[in-house]
Symmetry: D2
Subunit: 335 residues, 4 copies
């Protein structure tokens, strides 16, 4: 793939050199599973980052992180509200059904794949309060959303208030949390709002195989530890996963990488004008482009996914070459 300029996804990018370094430094044998010295640092490091006490566990995939968290918020006979274009609904191969033992996904709508209290209420208010209908137990939102859009602090506060008022858990799929935080000014706390749990994405942002599952409710955290093991997700050489997560935190690498990716996306967006389908707030660009236009871009070496019939998705990643992004923006503008 030497001469392509890849904007397919951020999910197969290289591992950042600092992450490699941290993994190598963890090579010396230590206690297995999460008994090692590095895993032991996670709680404190994330409590510090978010300004409130939490437990933090490494997990190998975002799917597992999301589903493990939801499984401890939602009884098997309950439901989770998610956006109808959310990753948990469309792209996790039925993982919520598995981890949540058959609990139901309740699909709400909202601009740019973001949920609002109104959108959620439209789905759950018509549910009769009787045993014949599945009752909602939690909400999951994606920060940044599947269309690269970011929940503001106010939007998060509204959702959090709504969740509390309705006695629903609130989980955040943060596969691109760093990109959202970069957009919002860099505060992890503001980017997470009042969620009960958060899958803090590292893999799309320069790690290899570790996300951090952050749990603000200690009871939930205790349960998740058992569920992680039960799901075959407690790796015995956990120190290599902890090392990846810690490397992302060190010196704010998570933010730096996200800023690089967001910056590249901004360069692409620059060329899109009113082709843009969604505001570009993170590292994804969705633009109206017909088949001929897409072919023309591909002929120039740009690699990306079609998004339905008349659009394309470009995803910048921490290691996207700035030149490539600029070139892509210009190429689109020139169409």
């Amino acid at each position: 793939m030497s001469d392509t300029k890849p904007f397919l996804s951020d999910n197969a990018a290289k591992v950042h050199p600092k992450v490699w370094e941290a993994m190598r430094a963890a090579d010396e044998a230590d206690a297995p599973y999460d008994g090692d010295a590095l895993s032991a640092e996670l709680d404190a490091r994330f409590s510090d980052l978010f300004g409130r006490d939490c437990a933090a566990l490494w997990v190998a995939t975002g799917t597992a992180a999301n589903c493990l968290a939801l499984a401890t918020m939602v009884q098997p006979h309950g439901g989770v509200v998610c956006h109808n274009e959310a990753h948990v609904e469309l792209d996790e191969g039925g993982a919520p059904g598995f981890f949540l033992h058959g609990a139901k996904l309740m699909l709400a709508d909202g601009e740019s794949a973001k949920l609002t209290p109104e959108g959620i209420a439209a789905v759950i208010d018509p549910i009769r309060d009787d045993v014949h209908q599945v009752q909602p137990h939690a909400i999951t939102i994606t920060q940044a959303s599947e269309y690269g859009c970011v929940y503001s602090a106010q939007e998060l506060a509204a959702l959090s208030d709504f969740a509390k008022a309705r006695k629903l858990g609130l989980h955040m799929d943060g596969a691109r949390f760093a990109n959202a935080a970069a957009f919002l000014g860099g505060s992890a706390k503001d980017t997470a709002g009042g969620v009960d749990s958060l899958a803090f994405g590292c893999i799309k942002n320069g790690a290899m195989s570790a996300e951090a599952l952050v749990l603000f409710d200690p009871e939930q955290a205790a349960m998740v530890k058992y569920r992680r093991k039960r799901a075959g997700h407690l790796q015995c050489k956990g120190r290599y996963l902890a090392a990846q997560v810690l490397a992302m935190l060190d010196g704010d690498l998570w933010l730096k990488n996200a800023r690089a990716a967001n910056g590249a996306a901004a360069q692409i967006a620059n060329g899109c004008g009113d082709r843009l389908l969604h505001p570009v707030q993170a590292n994804e660009v969705f633009a109206r482009l017909n088949a001929d236009e897409r072919e023309a871009l591909r002929a120039q070496g740009f690699d990306f996914y079609d998004w339905g019939e008349g659009a394309a998705r470009f995803v910048a990643s921490w290691d996207s070459a700035a030149d490539d992004a600029v070139a892509l923006g210009k190429a689109i503008a020139a169409l």
Copy 2:
């Protein structure tokens, strides 16, 4: 842990330099999940290794590998026969219950944690053939066993014949398959016998976070692929897992590492005489040692687990220092 001589377990050992090298070489971005060039090699490489067609998938843990395989052999209303000291029964945090949707573990007995047709029949023959009792659908064996003992080709043939006669699936937990193969002379084929599926362990043998799940039945393989995703085990940077597995196969590193570990265990066993609780055929040594004796060994810097009140378990690993193993053997002999 600088001056200890560690024989606690092989599950936290270093990653082998060749594995590191292979992972680094995989850094260039490639298609996500298992769409990359390295993952694509696995089927052929394992078909070659075992001399029969198979599919091979990377998975991050042995627990996941075992349970994914069993879940496609065993209906939720069925059961799996395993040894009453098997890892799936004792140490996987209920993972079989999760992956198999509540199927039942049926506990059989046998010397040194090995199953025999007779031992299995003793458990399943009394089961009435009616809907009130859970019927067995599969058998799982561990090669080498939880006590470091190895099924011979004849023993495997007997089990395979039995499984076929009873229409039961046959799975092998090969967390220490390499150690068993080293004992049996190095043939993967002979070490696996006629099993339907096999978790080919790499992590305890020098890899970081990848086991290979080998499936000899193509229908089962197709199902397992969906189940792996559904369990949150389809990592997006799968090429780093494939690289680990391939590095283990290259130049028979899997066998070389296992031979080193077995050799170290043999050195320890040399000093044990009739203290041995089980024949030492792989890389584990179980020896009668009272509390004072264990304390004396620990005072000399040896690290290991107690095994109940009157015994200890020593596990050698691919990177155990030969000197340490010799010293331990001598120290035991000198008690």
Copy 3:
């Protein structure tokens, strides 16, 4: 409720005298579970009724019957296509999630809650054939539909052909199968078409607590027997359930009762003119009626459910008084 004229539902109607009689006649002790002489008759009686070999099992609820059948057609990692207003989706309290171990309901659209090959294709054709998306394994249809509409023999043939072409199982929720059959001329065979399994409803049609689950695939039947027990649905005095089902078949009581209910619904429909929301083909009438009109009807003693803001649902049952139905039709006409 002495002076109300009840058209709320058919699900709480009296038990038919012939059913009582049959139950009393079954009082003499016999073998427990389904080992009794009456249960033993079911397979032959239903094979006869449908003109092809089948197994028939009593089950206490339609929810259980539907879900037990689907659970043996659909792998936990698969999906079932149903109408977005189907009972399994809206009113079974998440039972499919439970019985199918987290398999997904895939919601299709169609007139009057009936599915068509086109409507199903619109849902399943966009599903990418990869492990990230849940794949369909089966279809479930409701005969008569949730809006009291009946699939014709041609419609059933089209669905059956479609299911076969797509290698999908085809199940029929026949909670009101008898009413559909009455509409179609009385042939059970024609009313079932080429389905693989069928919940043959008795309870809404004069029985007390027994539906018949009819399975045309012997392998599926064998599995369902284990699943019925596992779900706590194998009652020990099964003879009383078998007696109910057999009483429904004897002398075509199932058809006679359904004809009575359909006839009463026709009387109601007579008064509805263009108020009707759906063709009245079975025993349910959905009619546009505003709040004042509904109040006026209730003031005359008619009991029924509102159906959203501007409509009402009237359900006739086997024991609806003909006079009441006629009166209701007239009262609506007079509004």
Copy 4:
């Protein structure tokens, strides 16, 4: 079966005339599911019976009652301690695995199928308090036990104290609760001790298809209602089940029937002398009888199950003919 004297089981006995009467009296249509007037009486009637507040739900089988209760006490990643000869372990077709989403049964030992704190501790104390091993969440006991033996008030208090101390839920399978209560003097309260939930058996004691699930924890009760629906166990003509349960309570029919059955068992036991394998405290008799002796009894028209090679089980039921029981006792004595 006209001339046999049946002591096979109590699970296929006739329905008591009072129960028939109550069912017939419930024939008039009422609200569906458990919205009817009879179902509404259950909570108060059982609160009265047990002298403490509870919720009481009808369920069609003991398997469902037990598993629904346990499913709300035990997380899917937890375990339930039961006797190794308990019905949930041996005879419910894996129902606990289904209802509890893969939670583990932990098998304890004890005389006459009764558990003791010591027997339970022997199973749970060795469990390491880590995520690799399934942790116990609840205990289930059977009153009277599978060998017809009764927990005394003191034994129950000890178990209840133990459960509280260990923070374990305590459930009672009361398939033959009435027989136990009859033995203990008739107090439901004393017979239940401090359990959190109880399957109050009616079916073996003269009902047709209704057990009462009694829940002393209101939160658990709320959950069980959803789970009952989700398991397909919320029958729409629930009034017929409520009627059965209420008929059992009216005039203490439950105790009268149980006394009759126990009395018949006592007559049988009279003839057994030191053949008895367990004290006869309820309605079951387990007696050493060799094959010839069993054949001799069968030749006299007595019907019963073999219990392994050298014993037989006789179960008396509420409608056992006193003469038959006396005759059987004499016949055994005469062997």
